[in-house]
């Protein structure tokens, strides 16, 4: 099969009709992430995949839906024009979609898959599925479409190579030959035994030999059944081990995440255990109910303190004034010559009033009429006396005659003591609340971290589909167990194989003994026929085994040639394809001394590709059948230089290979790529180069604006 043309219409980002012309050799389709590479691969897979259950609505171009008016119809179509055995064909898979009247949805028609054969009389329509199966068998398609480097590992799965040998080696229907020869051999032996038993001369001996042969055959069947079971078991263990080894990186990561998760959860539990929020009981038990009084008490204390300070200040002022007054008074009382004055009460009030009344100073006898100096003097004296009386009264007056403030101070002191005790309790409460809040904050951070780790675990599991978290976590324990089981199984297989050999030897002897009984009797011909058929059976068995071995050796030889081509000037080792004890076939690389090599990703990829190319080449030789290979991003792990060499080599392989890749692009801005012409010029391809990219402008949040444009560069 050789593809000439791929047509894609309204398939996801491929809005409207699109076409790739495909030549011989390598066709490179270059596009950055999100520009339609995988959609192209999926379109091919959709075409080659015969299952009808795919959700068709999901593959309709959103842009095609958006441009339709309600009630209008368009179609999704993927078609392939190809040549096969010098005839031209076309397969076309399609369905139509109609926009609903309310513009909210689309209705889709059943999928149609038709084929066309070009005949002399014109184009003839046929069933697409049958045509595809005829020209591009499903078993080959399995090894034709491969997405990403990981998909190449299908070649190292337990039964894949066995399947390849059966499908592509020179001999077809090998199981049918084995099955028929066993049947024929058993029939011939039964006929021989019957013929010998009919001869009365040897009847008794023949019956004994026949019983012995039957017992041995029964034992042989039992052993063969055991062997098959053990080989299946060993294959299953090998598959398990393979799955574990393949997921060892993921397993290590999962265990690391789980360990972190355990620590985070332990820390979470510890924090939860630390939080004490029994605030309600503490309200009365620990007097937390009074926590609101503290500001009142503080205010009271402040006010008392302020009042006390004010009192002291005023009292000090008062005393100071009082002292000044007393000093002044003393000064006033001092006479000019320093003599000691009479006391203020001498003469006393009664005498002074009498002198004023009588208008004469009765001390010195000077008349003192009203208005005279003497009169005024006596009057001043009386006033001074009366004033002194008042001052004395004043002196007895206290600044703060009532000790209210002292009482308040004393009370405040008592309350303050209580307040200190309460403050301690309340501080404890405040600290507790702060502590709890701090723990809660830590808990929130921990919960975020736990969510992140759990999300990482989910993503990790998605990377290894079919392998549960438990299996990933117990990987190494399982690996040890599976290795032990496999080893025990292999020992058992060796024992059973030895037992089979022994039984077969015994059977051969018994059959010879039985044959001797037939000599010179009419049964002799049955013995000869039985011997001939058994000999033919054994010859077929060995021939088929040799055919399988030859195919593997040839596959290995051709694979090594491709490995050498794909790794020019690089270390590559030697590719080995072998059958292990369980009957499963394996691919590996070995060093010159035969020791196994653990290849890096790029070498591993070229190893699998070499086998894939070898399979393709042998298919061509053995089945007169060529088929294209379609790879989506097979060179992700390749260094730039190696990738260029790789593409040049592949182009010269004389195989039709289509590769979609994001290589040969250089970033010129955020999500902005242009072709790296300089690098592209280093490619010397016979085939075509296409660039696929999104039509601009587009809205990255609206799929209805996305459209892949195709441009042919070479």
């Amino acid at each position: 099969m050789k593809i000439n043309r791929i047509e894609i219409k309204n398939f996801r980002s491929y809005f409207g009709p699109n076409c790739f012309i495909i030549n011989s050799g390598l066709t490179l389709i270059i596009g950055a992430n999100g520009e339609g590479k995988t959609n192209l691969y999926d379109a091919m897979e959709w075409l080659f995949e015969n299952r009808i259950g795919t959700d068709s609505k999901r593959i309709v171009s959103r842009k095609a839906i958006a441009v339709l008016n309600p009630g209008e119809t368009d179609e999704v179509m993927v078609a392939l024009d190809f040549e096969h055995n010098e005839a031209k064909y076309r397969i076309e898979k399609s369905f139509s979609f109609t926009k609903s009247d309310d513009d909210s949805d689309i209705r889709i028609s059943p999928i149609s898959f038709v084929g066309y054969e070009e005949e002399d009389s014109g184009r003839c329509m046929t069933d697409g599925v049958r045509l595809l199966d005829r020209c591009f068998n499903a078993s080959i398609r399995h090894f034709s479409l491969l997405a990403g480097e990981e998909s190449l590992k299908i070649l190292n799965q337990t039964d894949t190579l066995k399947y390849l040998v059966k499908t592509f080696s020179s001999v077809r229907n090998s199981e049918k030959y084995i099955s028929f020869m066993s049947f024929a051999s058993q029939c011939a032996q039964r006929a021989e035994q019957n013929a010998i038993s009919k001869n009365s001369r040897n009847k008794k001996q023949a019956d004994i030999k026949t019983r012995e042969i039957n017992d041995l055959e029964s034992r042989l069947r039992e052993l063969q059944s055991q062997l098959r079971n053990k080989q299946n078991e060993a294959r299953n263990y090998a598959t398990q081990i393979e799955a574990i080894v393949n997921s060892s990186e993921a397993s290590e990561e999962m265990r690391s995440l789980e360990s972190r998760l355990e620590n985070l959860r332990a820390e979470r539990n510890r924090l939860i255990g630390q939080i004490r929020e029994n605030y309600t009981a503490a309200l009365l038990d620990d007097m937390y109910v009074l926590s609101g009084i503290m500001p009142v008490l503080r205010e009271f204390s402040d006010k008392v303190s302020k009042a006390e300070r004010t009192r002291r200040k005023e009292e000090r002022e008062f005393l100071k004034n009082l002292g000044e007054r007393k000093a002044l008074k003393k000064i006033k009382l001092d006479l000019e010559n320093g003599a000691t004055p009479l006391p203020v009460y001498a003469p006393d009030e009664k005498f002074l009033r009498e002198m004023l009344h009588d208008h004469i100073c009765k001390v010195c006898g000077t008349p003192a009429p009203v208005g005279s100096d003497a009169y005024r003097y006596i009057e001043a004296k009386l006033n001074a006396y009366l004033e002194s009386l008042k001052e004395d009264e004043k002196e007895e007056e206290l600044c703060f005659p009532y000790n209210f403030i002292e009482q308040l101070s004393k009370r405040e002191t008592i309350i303050n003591n209580e307040r200190a005790s309460l403050a301690k309790t309340f501080q404890h409460l405040t600290d507790l609340i702060e502590f709890n809040e701090a723990r809660k904050k830590q808990l929130r951070t921990l919960d975020d971290n736990i969510s992140q780790v759990e999300e990482s675990q989910r993503k990790l599991q998605a990377r290894v589909p079919g392998v549960s978290k438990e299996v990933l976590l117990n990987n190494f324990t399982n690996l040890t167990n599976w290795n032990v089981y496999k080893s025990e199984c292999e020992k058992k297989i060796v024992e059973i194989e030895q037992a089979i050999l022994n039984v077969e030897k015994s059977l051969a002897i018994k059959r010879e003994e039985l044959a001797e009984l037939a000599e010179n009797t009419p049964a002799q011909i049955y013995t000869k026929i039985s011997e001939a058929i058994t000999a033919i059976k054994d010859a077929f068995r060995r021939a088929l085994k040799k055919n399988e071995t030859d195919f593997i050796m040839e596959l290995e030889r051709v694979s090594n040639e491709y490995l050498a081509k794909l790794n020019v000037d690089d270390f590559k080792g030697t590719l080995r394809i072998y059958t292990d004890i369980s009957g499963a076939m394996r691919i590996s690389l070995v060093d010159i001394d035969g020791s196994p090599i653990d290849p890096n990703k790029a070498l591993e990829t070229t190893m699998y590709m070499s086998v894939l190319f070898a399979v393709s080449e042998l298919t061509e030789i053995k089945k007169d059948d060529e088929y294209p290979l379609f790879f989506d991003a097979p060179t992700s792990s390749f260094a730039v230089g190696k990738e260029k060499d790789f593409f040049n080599i592949i182009d010269n392989l004389d195989k039709q290979i289509i590769i979609v890749t994001k290589s040969f692009l250089k970033e010129v801005g955020p999500n902005e790529y242009i072709l790296d012409q300089e690098m592209l010029n280093t490619l010397n391809l016979r085939g075509s180069i296409y660039r696929i990219e999104k039509k601009k402008p587009f809205d990255d949040k609206n799929q209805a604006t996305i459209q892949t444009l195709i441009s042919r560069i070479r």
Binding site: S170, F183, A184, C187, I529, A532, A535, I536, I621, D624
Partner: protein, 81 residues
């Protein structure tokens, strides 16, 4: 590879079996394809050719008995040594 080529390949593989060569005095180079084997003087060779010719993609267990009777009858009539 055509059907004839596949049959020839299997024929040569079976006829090159040392044990068979020795026991039934076969010279594999005498038989270059299935037709020459079908016309062989050696009964075992012809029987092998009958088996290869008789088993095809459509052959199943129900056809086994018929093919066995054919080769058994053939050997009965031709296996003289």
């Amino acid at each position: 590879m055509t059907k004839a080529n596949r049959q020839t390949r299997l024929l040569q593989l079976v006829l090159s079996d040392e044990s068979l060569i020795k026991k039934y005095n076969i010279n594999p180079t005498d038989y270059t394809n299935i037709d020459t084997a079908m016309n062989a003087d050696n009964a075992v060779v012809e029987c092998i050719a009958m088996i290869i010719e008789g088993i095809n993609d459509q052959f199943d267990e129900t056809d086994q008995k018929q093919l066995y009777h054919r080769i058994q009858q053939y050997l009965n009539n031709n296996l003289l040594i």
